[in-house]
Every structure is written in structure tokens, then in C-alpha cells.
């Protein structure tokens, strides 16, 4: 008996009705979170763009090698992790638990590789004198502030996603969680992927130094 049918049989039909979105509350909650997070990222990307347009001495410090090439590899890694997550969700929905776990493991690994590449780039920039309040090229100090804040917030999302995937993998393996949890986590992971599609061109490519 469905939740709504059970509610009606108990005389609660007037208070409980089916979701207009036709999905479980956990998935709807994830969509609400994604909507709010999209506006958060939108706001900080607008703030960055405002500062960039409003600064007469904005820096374009990224050489093709290593910065742009590294960011392109990071993009490839993240896009690939989106595909492996898609495979994990599909396998979970078809009841192929071992296959789903294998693909979730691949997604976790790719997430760790992305984070490692990102941190390596950060430490390279730190060694050149960049920080939240310092610009070694003599341009606007807001470059470091916005770059590290936005990429840092995105990196935090990636690390959170990796941790969530580890928890969901364990839960799915031990039957504590089901395939719907895998799908909901997949939704989050794809959102992190989607945000990078704006971070990469706006923060890296628009700040690439001419060849």
C-alpha cells in the first residue's frame, strides 16, 4: 500500500497528498539544496565578475602550462567522474549492487584526483607569492581573494561529495541505505560538476595570459 493510500485509509487523506514532483522527499530536498547552492555560487561568481570589471589593473596570470593545462585535465577528471556516477546510479537502480559500488569507487577516486590536482595548483601559486590578500604581479589583490574563495568553495563541495559517496557506498553495501540514496548523492555530484563548467571558463580561461 502506498503512503498516500495508507494515509487515506487512516482518515488522513485531506492532509497528505502525493508529491506534485512525483519523487521521494529526499530527492526533492536535494533539489531544494541544489537550487539554493546554485544561487550561492551564482552570487559569488557575480561578485567576482563585478570586481573584475571594476578593477583597472586586473591580472591575467595563468600561462597555458602549467595552469590552463592543469585546469583542463581537472575538467576532464570531473566530467569523467560524472559519467562514472551515472553508471553507479544506473547499476543501483537495476539492482546490480557490486557494479554500482565499483562505479562509486571510481567516482571517489576521480574526486580525490581532482582535489589533489587542485591542491597542487594552489600550493604552486602560494610558492609564487599568491594569497587571499597578495598579488605578486602587482595587480589587484582581489584576484587572489576571489580566486581562492570560489575555487575553495568548489573544492569544499568536491571533498564533501567524496565523503558523502564513501558513506553512501558503505551504507549501500550494508543495506543501511538503498538505491534512492545513491541517486540523490549522484544528483549532488552532478551539480558539483555543473558548477565547475562556469568556474573553469570564468576563473581560469578569462584570466589566461595571452601567448
Amino acid at each position: 500500500m502506498s503512503e498516500s493510500a495508507a494515509a487515506i485509509s487512516h482518515g488522513l487523506g485531506a492532509t497528505i497528498e502525493p508529491s506534485p514532483y512525483g519523487m521521494q522527499s529526499k530527492k526533492l530536498t536535494m533539489w531544494l539544496f541544489i537550487a539554493s547552492d546554485a544561487i550561492t555560487f551564482g552570487a559569488i561568481l557575480f561578485a567576482y565578475s563585478y570586481l573584475r570589471v571594476g578593477s583597472a589593473n586586473w591580472s591575467r596570470p595563468f600561462q597555458f602550462s602549467p595552469s590552463i593545462a592543469n585546469a583542463l585535465v581537472m575538467t576532464g577528471v570531473l566530467l569523467t567522474s560524472g559519467l562514472t556516477m551515472l553508471f553507479a546510479v544506473s547499476a543501483a537502480k537495476q539492482g546490480q549492487k557490486p557494479t554500482s559500488l565499483k562505479w562509486m569507487g571510481a567516482t571517489i577516486l576521480l574526486g580525490v584526483v581532482f582535489a589533489a590536482l587542485h591542491l597542487r595548483e594552489w600550493f604552486h601559486m602560494f610558492s609564487e607569492g599568491w594569497s587571499l590578500s597578495k598579488n605578486p604581479t602587482g595587480g589587484s589583490v582581489m584576484f587572489g581573494a576571489t580566486f581562492f574563495s570560489i575555487t575553495g568553495l568548489h573544492l569544499l563541495h568536491v571533498i564533501s561529495g567524496v565523503l558523502a559517496l564513501i558513506v553512501v557506498s558503505i551504507g549501500f553495501q550494508t543495506k543501511w541505505l538503498d538505491e534512492n540514496h545513491v541517486e540523490t548523492t549522484g544528483l549532488y555530484w552532478h551539480f558539483v560538476d555543473l558548477v565547475w563548467m562556469f568556474v573553469f571558463p570564468l576563473l581560469y580561461l578569462m584570466n589566461a595570459s595571452p601567448r
Binding site: 551564482g42 571594476g54 555543473l194 562556469f198 570564468l202 580561461l205
Partner: protein, 99 residues
Amino acid sequence: MNANHTPAMKFFVLVWIGLLCMAGIEVFITYQGFSTHTQLAMLLVLALIEAGIGLLYFMHLKYDRPVLLWTFVLSIVFVLLMMNQIWPDAYRMVSIGHH
């Protein structure tokens, strides 16, 4: 998501290849010597297409009820459009900087 209505995984592999190609095209555009405004416009169009593909296929919005797309995506787009009020002040800032 109803798994019965989703295409085969081969289709998603093609979508993934398409997204990788678009990232490569973005880098190519960056080094073609376009003006900042042209470069920004081209990169934003590509990013929006990538995001749309990600939402429709990777996040399965195409296979969920259309009401999800209309309520969530349109409300986010509306908020982001409203944020465009800031540009006149950004240009005022840069004119002060030049003086």
C-alpha cells in the same frame, strides 16, 4: 527518475565525449586573440550549453516531471538575471580607477 525511460548508457558516453570536446573548444577560443567581451560571450554560451546538457541528461531533468524543470530552473534563472543590476556600478568603479 524512471529507468525505463532513460536511453542506453552508450548515449551518455556520447554526451560525455561532447562535454569534453566543448571544454577543449573553450581552451581553443581562449587563445584566438578575441577581445575580452567576445571571449566572455563565447565562453558563457558554451558554459550554458554544457550546463543545460548536464542538467537534462546527467541530472535526468529530461526524464523527470516537467514541473521540476519549470519551478526550479526558471526560479534560479530569474534570480541570476536580477543580479545583473550590478554592472553599471562596476563600470563606474573602473572609471574612478582610471582617473
